[in-house]
């Protein structure tokens, strides 16, 4: 077991002027399940591959435990990886696939057999050991890929979107299995996904990346409750947080002719310089207010989910013709009392649920 440290690790692809991963600093605890999440092209896979030794590290370093592995080839890093497409050797049986690394490492035959059998038992693959990958279902292949990692008994597991090739139902099921397995084996795990739900449900901590830069790394709860910037605010949570910018007025932000109250101190700090403020509020922190109070929005679409209803609405233009903050807003309401399409609804935000951001730096203001 070991910790993993990214120390200002940077990767610049040849013929590219922007780093794919830019001075990444990240400390992953022993036995921790860390998820790297972000939109495609954000550098999450590159970060993982740098740790794996499949990508060069152009600057900075990476340590596993106390050992600097920046220069080490993959096989000397004591890590195992689960690939997105599983990368099972098509001509080998499940058993041979799982044992290949051990065979190369020169482990004795009966020892290989024992460890493969053990992993197969954990993963419920005992009946399939003699099969080729082609004869397995997607879920079974995924488990073989896991098994291949487990058998090596590494210090760190690396997983690169291991669930993205499964159908939705199986993905949810496998998600919990992997999380449970990781807790049980207590092996430090770095897990890459583009799916924020996967990130939130699986990770001890979640690191959000964008354009090669780490945005925030925290527990799922903290990411949700205190996003460090508007990007994280918009990325984490489904449906996404509503983020709007408007002129700061006395006591709050003016939206569609009404004023949404913002705590005075935060407002002052965010609006300093531009006179504007960016606020964020989640769909579930909105309440329908009586007419005359709150911010008016026009309902465009109503999504009935049974347990909830989501209103997709538009903030009206400002009275004085300032249309700068015409924006779409998502509201969660009670399903039975949901508004109708075309109706104007007045919204109120519970104050403790209002996030304030600097409109220039996009950073959170506390």
């Amino acid at each position: 077991m070991a910790t993993v440290t990214f120390d200002a690790a940077t990767r610049i692809y040849p013929k590219s002027d922007r780093p794919a991963v830019d001075t990444l600093d990240l400390e992953i605890g022993d036995g921790e399940f860390l998820v790297l999440v972000g939109p495609s092209g954000c550098g999450k896979s590159t970060s993982l591959r740098m740790l794996a030794g499949l990508e060069e590290i152009d600057a900075g370093s990476i340590r596993i435990g106390d050992r600097d592995v920046t220069e080490a080839p993959p096989k000397d890093r004591d890590i195992a990886m689960v690939f997105q497409n599983y990368a099972l050797y098509p001509h080998m049986t499940v058993e041979q696939n799982m044992g290949f690394a051990l065979k190369i490492a020169g482990v004795a035959k009966d020892e290989i057999g024992r460890r493969v059998a053990e992993a197969a038992k954990i993963l419920d693959l005992e009946d399939y050991l003699g099969r080729r990958p082609k004869a397995l279902s997607g879920g079974q292949r995924q488990r073989v890929a896991m098994g291949r990692a487990i058998v090596r008994n590494p210090q760190v597991f690396l997983m690169d979107e291991p669930l993205s090739n499964l159908d939705a139902k199986l993905r949810v099921q496998t998600r919990t299995q992997i999380a449970a397995l990781q807790r049980r084996l207590a092996v430090t795990t770095v897990y890459v996904t583009h799916d924020q739900v996967e990130a939130m449900t699986m990770g001890d901590r979640v690191a959000v990346l964008k354009d090669g830069v780490l945005q925030q790394c925290d527990t799922p709860g903290a990411l949700y409750d205190r996003p460090a910037n508007t990007f994280v605010a918009g990325f984490i949570g489904s449906p996404a947080m509503n983020v709007v910018t408007g002129p700061a007025v006395d006591g709050g932000i003016r939206l569609a002719g009404a004023v949404l109250p913002v705590p005075r101190e935060k407002l002052a700090r965010a609006a300093a310089g531009t006179g504007k403020v960016t606020v964020g509020f989640r769909p579930e922190s909105l309440e329908v207010a009586p007419a005359g109070e709150g911010v008016p929005v026009v309902v465009n679409v109503v999504e009935q989910l049974g347990s909830d209803a989501f209103l997709y609405a538009t903030l009206g233009a400002d009275d004085d013709g300032d249309v700068l903050h015409t924006a779409d807003v998502v509201v969660r309401t009670e399903p039975r009392t949901a508004a109708a399409v075309g109706q104007t609804v007045h919204l109120r935000v519970r104050e403790e649920c209002l996030h304030v951001f600097d409109p220039v730096t996009q950073l959170r203001v506390d």
Binding site: K75, I79, Y86, A87, H91, F100
Partner: protein, 301 residues
């Protein structure tokens, strides 16, 4: 493409398309069934394709006068075997077949090996100048056989290899087509992830090649082997320069038979039949695979 075989025999054309639409296209196109006219036309083409080969057997058992009769004969008779015997006396066809098996076998093994190694490197390894080298390989496919034979002839004359099989084998091992074919196949069939997985599993580059690349490449290697064997067996230009009828391959022996002073057409035809039959038998047995290989190569290219 070897430097010593004609270009069209092996080249693959350029259109490319993902395998998914192709599969879909194939399934869907089958819905349009062929009418009787289509079957008749195809049947006729098949007949025209096979008839000259069959005629070889007929002509091999008849005298010229019999062949010119009205109506002409359409069945071979027992003289076939007599004439085969005479052909074997006129030309060393038995030796030629043994030589052709050796030559084509060596060329096939060597070509497939070299092509798989180089094709893998071009498909998956990045090294300085790889694109230029690949361009060189592709460019080689345009070079006519004629361009190499004079120096090669001088070379084998100096090495005193004339009439020795290595004179045919060695120059023909160079197959730009094979390299290109394997590169195209491996670029698609071998996911980068598989190589990375092998790296993570601690496999050395050589180990990765033997344990991962070769198993994945096997179907393409088989196709390349069949095509190479066929081409090598049928290769004509260089062998008739490098060898004589003293120690010929089948094609050299046939050229000797046809170009010599054998008066009897039936004997020439008998020799042609014996020289062609082995490869035709192989072709009929593996025909489906060869057809598949050529079509696969066409789409991959």
């Amino acid at each position: 493409m070897t430097t010593l075989t004609s270009a069209p025999e092996q080249a693959v054309p350029a259109p490319a398309s993902a395998s998914a639409p192709r599969r879909r296209g194939r399934r869907a196109r089958k819905v349009t069934s062929a009418g009787p006219l289509t079957h008749v036309l195809l049947g006729l083409t098949a007949l025209l394709s096979v008839f000259p080969l069959y005629w070889t057997a007929v002509a091999a058992s008849k005298t010229n006068a019999e062949l010119a009769g009205t109506p002409p004969p359409f069945l071979p008779d027992a003289d076939l075997f007599t004439n085969i015997g005479r052909a074997m006396e006129e030309a060393p066809i038995g030796l030629a077949i043994v030589n052709s098996v050796i030559v084509a076998g060596c060329i096939t093994v060597g070509t497939v090996l070299c092509s798989t190694l180089a094709g893998f490197a071009f498909a998956k390894l990045r090294f300085r100048g790889n694109k230029a080298l690949l361009g060189l390989v592709v460019g080689t496919m345009m070079v006519p056989t004629q361009l190499a034979i004079i120096p090669l002839f001088i070379l084998i004359a100096q090495l005193q290899w004339v009439d020795h099989l290595q004179a045919v084998v060695l120059p023909t091992l160079v197959s730009a087509f094979g390299v290109f074919f394997m590169r195209q196949f491996l670029s698609q069939a071998l996911p980068d992830e598989l190589l990375e997985a092998a790296r993570m599993d601690g496999a050395s580059t050589l180990r990765t090649f033997w344990s991962v690349v070769v198993p994945v490449a096997r179907p393409a290697m088989a196709v390349l082997a069949m095509l190479t064997f066929l081409t090598a067996w049928n290769d004509f230009f260089w062998p008739i320069i490098a060898l004589t009828t003293e120690n010929p391959t089948v094609q050299v022996a046939l050229a000797g038979l046809g170009g010599g002073y054998v008066p009897d057409t039936a004997v020439i035809m008998a020799g042609t039949l014996v020289g062609t039959l082995p490869v035709l038998v192989v072709f009929v047995v593996l025909g489906k695979q060869i057809v598949g290989g050529i079509m696969q190569g066409a789409v991959k290219g």
